[in-house]
Subunit: 461 residues, 2 copies
């Protein structure tokens, strides 16, 4: 039985409009994510665009019977190769499952199909008078199924948690075709194992998510943003504690930028720095308040006291939405500085918050010793324990750089993936953050759900 | 090989000070939880009091080899029989693993052994300048391991989430003795499957939790509490939306009390009701604010507008800590009204928030039709979708009452357990809230981790 037969039989089974032969599909779209391209020696056998969980089930049953690998794909914004096939596979695209099915105002929930795009979720929530907080650069392409499968993070985790905290229910299809219909709308539900937790962050290796119930929040009524400069990481930590206490559940962002990155995001991009170059660390703070009159006043008072008490060296509070966006543009500059910082390798790691300052110092020193002239840029969602770094080196040995960074991360008790996942790119380094027992238990779980190993093989473990 | 031999060999293996024969143990303590007593035909073979994960591992290896059931026990505050043996078993008590091992101020974490008591966690957090938010009536006995194993809830879920959201890392021992050491301190960690999620809410059926990293919060600086009366559930829902928008991340509690319960908590207990009897519904609202000056003013303004706009019929704001405690005493009256409401059966369910009003009306009518003269009391953490009810009937047929309530709950798309778990008591009713596919997948998971079925058998599934 040839693989061509498989696609033909699958077409006969679920419809030729649902399953496309490779020759008829847009293979360019389906063979790459944001950073990674499919290897030349790998073939996409066909692309399925199911419209229902039942069709996903039929497809997985067929794949399992013939042991054909299946690679689920959402918006393909992954940076670690999660949705890129590494073997000849059927691609299962969620592109045709984009519907927003229901907004339950009393429950504060939105039920969507897994292919629904993040920006659409945000807009629909807004139009219904609600707020969907998860936000990241790929919002115009990233799909709910992928965001759940990678437990996505972004800029508001401090206040609202990661994607895991915004998912109340899911519908998922197991490799054997079983449809798990768990579209729970309740904040509290302890009726047996919480099965949705298994699929959140599993990167499509245990099954395919087809629908989800998302949690909506009230709209914040007062957004207050400031840029601060501090002398060193010790003062940053003190300022973080003060900020958390002073703003509590209103603290929306606490983003640190080291001088190397701040310079790239301002003068290197011909932008006037809101606070001068030369400080030890820069911090972007944002609160999401509820009182349009009082929240800004309290914001100014609290930040003012940071200067008075010598914690901060300089502060600029955004006086307009334009100024706010300019501040965020500095924070978001890694999307822009590639041109002057190329070739580049980027990292997404997490470390116990107290250890991050020391990590940056020592990691920089170690990298410079081994690769003199290496360019570094450090920044991160520090309050979430999340550090990003970009390295710039002419003709870099990617594997050696990766190993150096992840080994260092492991030595600090950190994680080689904070919010990007493992995909295929970080798989070889998982042991720096997980014990052999943890990895063996992940394999146990994988084998229990996917004994034939058809679901997104070569990813995660 | 007799069972007596098993205990003797286990003593030889891990120590006679660690494993007690049944005759030497306090069997009264280990044979009951808050509501349930072990059946007469069941025997406790022995009680193990390990001090380390390694000892837990040795005990589980021995139990698996001889297929001896193990029942893990924490503070025994369960209300559903979770820690009560249903077969002749070894009891594994965490009573000797009570240490608080570390508070990491920069990370905002506390690392504890699983037997650590909730009240001790709260107190130690407070002494270190932090706040551990999870709180419930059993705080003086409930242990961290049990709170995690049942994904405990309580009064502050609206603001801080359930126990799942307060657990960053765990150490757990699998039935085969494998120690999973995942004492993560980071808010973000997506390095492979998040194994801790498996053990949270699994009620000790997949392994034994031995340590945990808990998330600490800054102390709230302004607690504001009020009691409100509204005409009906529609107005309660409108008031809930207003409250969520106005207080955002500071809203700590939104507790509804139906007239039957409010009467029991006030006049029936010889307490002066802060708001007169006769309204449609009573609501206790509490905010956990950050600004000791502004938060109370905003609280009064927002609640004042509820009266002006006709949403609330009456409001009393607590003017002192004493008045606040009096209001909470009404909310907490189910701990007191047993004497005049006996025999009693109590329920912990959840429903989509919008459906709760209708559920109460129809459920009351259905119960009264079948059992004329039945007494009812409804209350709950409504914003969390959590409804509690107590039923009072002379000479009640417990199984018939349970079936009626859970069947009704299932028909509304609700959960038969919001925050108490399934244990042994609700096991027969799981199908009202979970599909056959969900239950089959739970069994798949159970079998993968515990193929011989030694871990807390007859619980959950």
């Amino acid at each position: 039985m040839t693989q061509t037969d498989f696609i033909g039989r699958l077409q006969a089974n679920v419809g030729a409009d649902i399953v496309l032969r490779a020759a008829d599909a847009n293979l360019d779209r389906h063979s790459r994510d944001f950073l990674n391209v499919m290897r030349d020696d790998v073939a996409i056998l066909g692309v399925a665009y199911p419209r229902t969980a039942e069709q996903v089930s039929a497809i997985l049953v067929a794949c399992q019977a013939d042991e054909v690998p299946v690679v689920p794909q959402g918006g393909l914004t992954s940076m670690v190769g999660g949705p890129v096939p590494t073997r000849s596979s059927l691609v299962l695209s969620l592109d045709r499952m984009r519907a927003i099915e229901e907004i339950d105002e009393a429950a504060g929930t939105m039920t969507v199909q897994a292919g629904c795009i993040l920006e659409m979720v945000q807009r629909s929530a807004d139009e219904a008078g609600f707020f969907f907080p998860l936000d990241l650069g790929g919002r115009g392409s990233a799909q709910v199924g992928g965001l759940i499968s990678t437990n996505a993070g972004g800029n508001r985790v401090l206040r609202y948690g990661m994607m895991r905290e915004s998912v109340l229910g899911i519908e998922a299809v197991l490799p054997d075709g079983t449809i798990i219909h768990s579209l729970n709308k309740m904040l509290k539900n302890n009726a047996g194992y919480d099965l949705k937790q298994l699929f959140i962050g599993a990167e499509g290796t245990l099954g395919v998510i087809t629908r989800a119930v998302l949690r909506l929040y009230p709209k914040p009524l007062s957004t207050n943003t400031a840029l601060l400069a501090v002398a060193d990481y010790t003062r940053l930590l003190a300022l973080l504690q003060r900020t958390k206490t002073a703003f509590g559940g209103e603290l929306g962002a606490f983003e640190a930028m080291w001088p190397d990155m701040y310079r790239l995001g301002t003068v290197a991009l011909d932008r006037q720095p809101p606070i001068a170059i030369g400080h030890g660390l820069y911090i972007l703070i944002e609160t999401l308040g509820t009182d349009p009159e009082r929240s800004p006043v309290q914001f100014e008072e609290v930040l003012g006291s940071m200067i008075e008490d010598g914690l901060a060296e300089d502060i600029v509070i955004a006086a307009s939405e334009r100024q706010r966006q300019d501040m965020w543009a500095i924070r978001d500059c890694p999307g822009e500085f590639s041109k002057m910082f190329w070739p580049q390798r980027s990292y997404d790691i997490s470390l116990p918050t107290g250890a991050i300052g020391d990590f940056v110092t020592r990691c920089t020193a170690a990298l410079r010793e081994r690769w003199p002239g290496i360019g570094t840029a450090f920044w991160g969602h520090i309050a979430d324990s999340n550090l990003h770094l970009s390295l710039n080196l002419p003709d870099p040995d990617g594997a050696a750089l990766d190993k150096a960074v992840y080994e260092f991360t492991g030595a600090y008790g950190g994680s080689i993936s904070a919010e990007h996942g493992i995909g295929s790119m970080k798989r070889a380094y998982l042991h720096y953050s997980r014990t052999p027992e943890e990895i063996a238990t992940m394999r146990l779980l994988k084998h229990a759900f996917d004994p034939k190993g058809i679901m997104n093989p070569d990813k995660v473990i």
